[in-house]
């Protein structure tokens, strides 16, 4: 083939053709250079051992590990194709970024049906992963090294995104979604931003020692956001099966929690500020369950028979609780043993707030 192309090329040089350009505006004449290459095609199980650009030429069905990246400075373009594994082969991986491989970029395709990881980034590797869909794998994306995932999706995996970092490595997951997995986003020492988890059979997010910002969890069977030692803001949780946000040793601010049986469980010195909780309105619904020295302040709670249940050393100050007539009229703040609760003013019949107490909680 190569010889034929070269022969055609040189023959065209010695043939005098028309020199006048065609009429009309300039239009594309071929494939953009950026898509031509240079590059190395991959059409089977591969271990990449040299820097460069690689790309799939078709869908691949692989029995075993599909692509191992052992070199740094590798770009792997999946070109919209799919790598299919054998779900019966234990621990096989779709793409494995091996230890020490840095400057790796993977983008634009699908990986499915590997018993192990769809994409794994080893602990001393560094990778950027964009617009990749993983489904039906044991772990969709498992990051132990410095990784960033952007615009990726995990569906129907055991774990969607699993982050296992430590204080020395930055792992960031941005604008990704996890649908229908066992657990959507999980792990420690990761930053999750603008991510969405829906319909996962356990938790939407189960995260420790990291940050969760501007993320959504809807219709997960257990908890929308389960947070330990996490700084979280601008969360949106709706219709999760048990709890909207469960936070331990965490800080959660400026978030909306809607229609879960328990909106927020706050424990272990957690701080909850400026959140808006709407309960289910059903008997037993709790807006915020605070204990173990959690602090709840400046939150607004509505439509829960128990708006705030303050127990075991919780601090509850400066909150507002709606007693909307005709829906749930028994909204209340429960003051449990050892808790500190600002004075509760019941102003549900209306009027002017005249209290000078900044810690007062207001029923309206």
């Amino acid at each position: 083939m190569r010889t034929t192309i070269l022969a055609l090329a040189f023959s065209s040089l010695v043939t005098a053709g028309p020199i006048d350009p065609p009429a009309g505006p300039v239009a594309p004449t071929g494939t953009p250079l950026g898509e031509i290459g240079p590059g190395t095609p991959i059409n089977g199980p591969t271990t990449i051992t040299a820097p460069g650009r690689y790309y799939l030429t078709d869908d691949l069905e692989i029995f075993g590990d599909a692509i191992d990246i052992a070199s740094s400075d590798v770009t792997l373009d999946l070109r919209g194709f799919t790598i299919v594994g054998d779900a019966d082969l234990d621990d096989a991986r779709g793409i494995d970024v091996l230890a020490g491989a840095t400057g790796v970029r993977i983008f634009g395709g699908t990986i499915r049906e590997f018993d192990g990881d769809g994409i794994n980034v080893a602990s001393t590797a560094e990778a950027l992963i964009e617009n990749v869909v993983v489904r039906g794998c044991g772990y969709g994306f498992e990051f132990r090294g410095a990784a960033r995932a952007v615009g990726c999706t995990a569906r129907n995996c055991g774990f969607g995104f699993r982050v296992l970092g430590d204080a020395t490595r930055s792992i960031v997951v941005t604008a990704c979604s996890a649908d229908g997995n066992g657990e959507g986003f999980s792990g420690s020492f990761g930053s999750f931003e603008r991510c969405s988890a829906t319909g996962n059979s356990i938790n939407g997010f189960n995260v420790s020692s990291g940050s969760v910002t501007d993320c959504r969890a809807v219709n997960n069977n257990n908890t929308g956001f389960s947070l330990f030692d996490v700084r979280a803001s601008k969360l949106y949780a709706k219709l999760n099966g048990l709890v909207g946000i469960s936070a331990n040793r965490a800080m959660v601010v400026e978030s909306d929690i809607i229609e879960s049986p328990t909106g927020i469980i706050a424990s272990g010195f957690t701080t909850i500020e400026r959140c808006h909780v709407t309960g289910t309105g059903q008997p037993g619904s709790v807006g915020i369950d605070a204990n173990s020295s959690a602090k709840i302040s400046e939150c607004n709670v509505a439509n829960a028979p128990t708006a705030i249940d303050a127990g075991n050393g919780a601090v509850v100050i400066g909150n507002t609780v709606s007693k909307f007539p005709g829906r749930v009229s028994s909204n209340t703040i429960v003051v449990g043993s050892g808790s500190i609760v600002g004075v509760v003013f019941d102003l549900s019949t209306g009027g002017t707030l005249t209290s000078g107490n900044p810690w007062a909680n207001i029923l309206y």
Binding site: L6, G30, T31, D214, Y236, T320, T354, G356, Y364
Partner: protein, 367 residues
């Protein structure tokens, strides 16, 4: 195929005219070009159905009688390559790109324009597959984009389509969450009609109706201006750092959910919140009425600047605390109607100057 060969020839032909080293390198001749099918493993497509998974690209502008490209299977990437698919504007069931696949394999559509399809620009019928749409414009179609859930749209633009700009998601929860970033709608009945999605940095302008109608959404840094009725209309939705300017009726109308750090200007009503909604740290500037707060909603720590008729109207168990209200002559700062509302003490300063006054808890400062 011909185009691809031409591309290779062009690249090869460029070699002799450059003043490069003319001596061949030492050693055996090695491969210097990729095979044709390696260079371009994708398949060219113009209009018609795609029934086999794979990667496709548009090789030039294309016209269509009927729908343009119909993607009937998952696992398809369609690159419009900067070209335009144009319909004949004659067929209510004709779509520029019509994804009928019901698969769990993803569909990717990118880099081009669809216009003049009477049915609509881009329609994705099912939410089974993840859908990624990037850098696609829909112009003068029946609607712009109608996408079932689980889709990601980035840098997409709807311009002057006959119906709505974007219709995203499934009204029946639980649906899959969609994400839109940096998308714009200009014209239309409704700019964005959204269920269960998060939007970042999107903009709706010039709709005859409402800029954004959103159920169960999260909107961050979005803008609605010069829409005929409302800028934003939300239910159980979170708005963060959004802005509504010069809309015909309401800047933000919200039933349930929250609005934070957002601003309005030159609307009839800046913020209209009801049914246990919550607005905080917002700014209304020069709206006719700054805010209406009703049915157990909370409006707090916000500023209402120079409303032309009324600052805040509170009714039916509303609660209004810790706001700053700057009003001109003969304009009510806070009006209470109905029963059960709680209003922080109104503290009025009628003339400027330093004060040692200690603000009571929850007080609304009027000046």
């Amino acid at each position: 195929m011909l185009d691809r060969i031409v591309a290779v020839l062009a690249a090869a032909a460029a070699v002799p005219v450059s003043h490069a080293q003319i001596n061949p390198p030492i050693g055996p001749v090695g491969p210097s070009l990729s095979e044709i099918d390696q260079i371009e493993p994708r398949r060219a497509v113009s209009a018609g159905p795609i029934t086999t998974p794979g990667s496709y690209y548009l090789s030039g502008n294309a016209s269509s009688i009927g729908s343009g490209v119909i993607i009937a299977v998952g696992g398809v990437t369609l690159d419009l390559a900067g070209f335009t698919l144009t319909g004949d504007n004659n067929g209510p069931n004709d779509f520029g790109i019509w994804v009928t696949a019901n698969s769990d394999e993803p569909v990717v559509i990118k880099n081009g324009t669809v216009k003049s399809f009477e049915g609509g620009g881009v329609e994705v019928v099912n939410d089974a597959q993840p859908v990624l749409i990037h850098n696609v414009s829909a112009v003068r179609n029946g609607f712009g984009f109608r996408i079932a859930g689980g889709a990601t749209l980035t840098d997409c633009h709807a311009l002057n389509n006959a119906g709505n700009g974007f219709e995203i998601g499934d009204p029946n929860l639980p649906g899959r969450i969609s994400g839109l970033e940096r998308c714009t709608s200009t014209g239309h009945d409704v700019g964005f009609r959204i269920w269960n999605a998060r939007l970042l940095a999107c903009r709706a302008s010039g709709a005859t109706g409402t800029g954004f109608i959103v159920n169960d959404g999260t909107l961050v840094e979005c803008i609605a201006n010069t829409n005929g009725i409302q800028g934003f209309n939300g239910r159980d939705t979170s708005f963060v750092a959004c802005a509504a300017t010069s809309n015909g009726n309401v800047g933000f109308q919200l039933i349930g959910g929250s609005i934070e750090g957002s601003r309005t200007r030159d609307n009839q009503i800046g913020f209209e919140i009801s049914t246990q909604a919550h607005a905080r740290e917002c700014v209304s500037l020069q709206d006719t009425t700054g805010a209406t707060v009703s049915f157990s909603s909370l409006f707090e720590r916000s500023s209402v600047i120079f409303p032309s008729t009324r600052g805040i109207l509170a009714s039916n168990n509303a609660i209004v605390l810790d706001n700053h209200i700057r009003v001109g002559n003969n304009v009510d700062a806070i009006t209470v109607s109905g029963t059960g509302s709680v209003i922080g003490r109104e503290v009025t300063f009628s003339s400027p100057g330093n004060t040692s006054y200690v603000k009571p808890v929850g007080a609304n400062l009027i000046y």
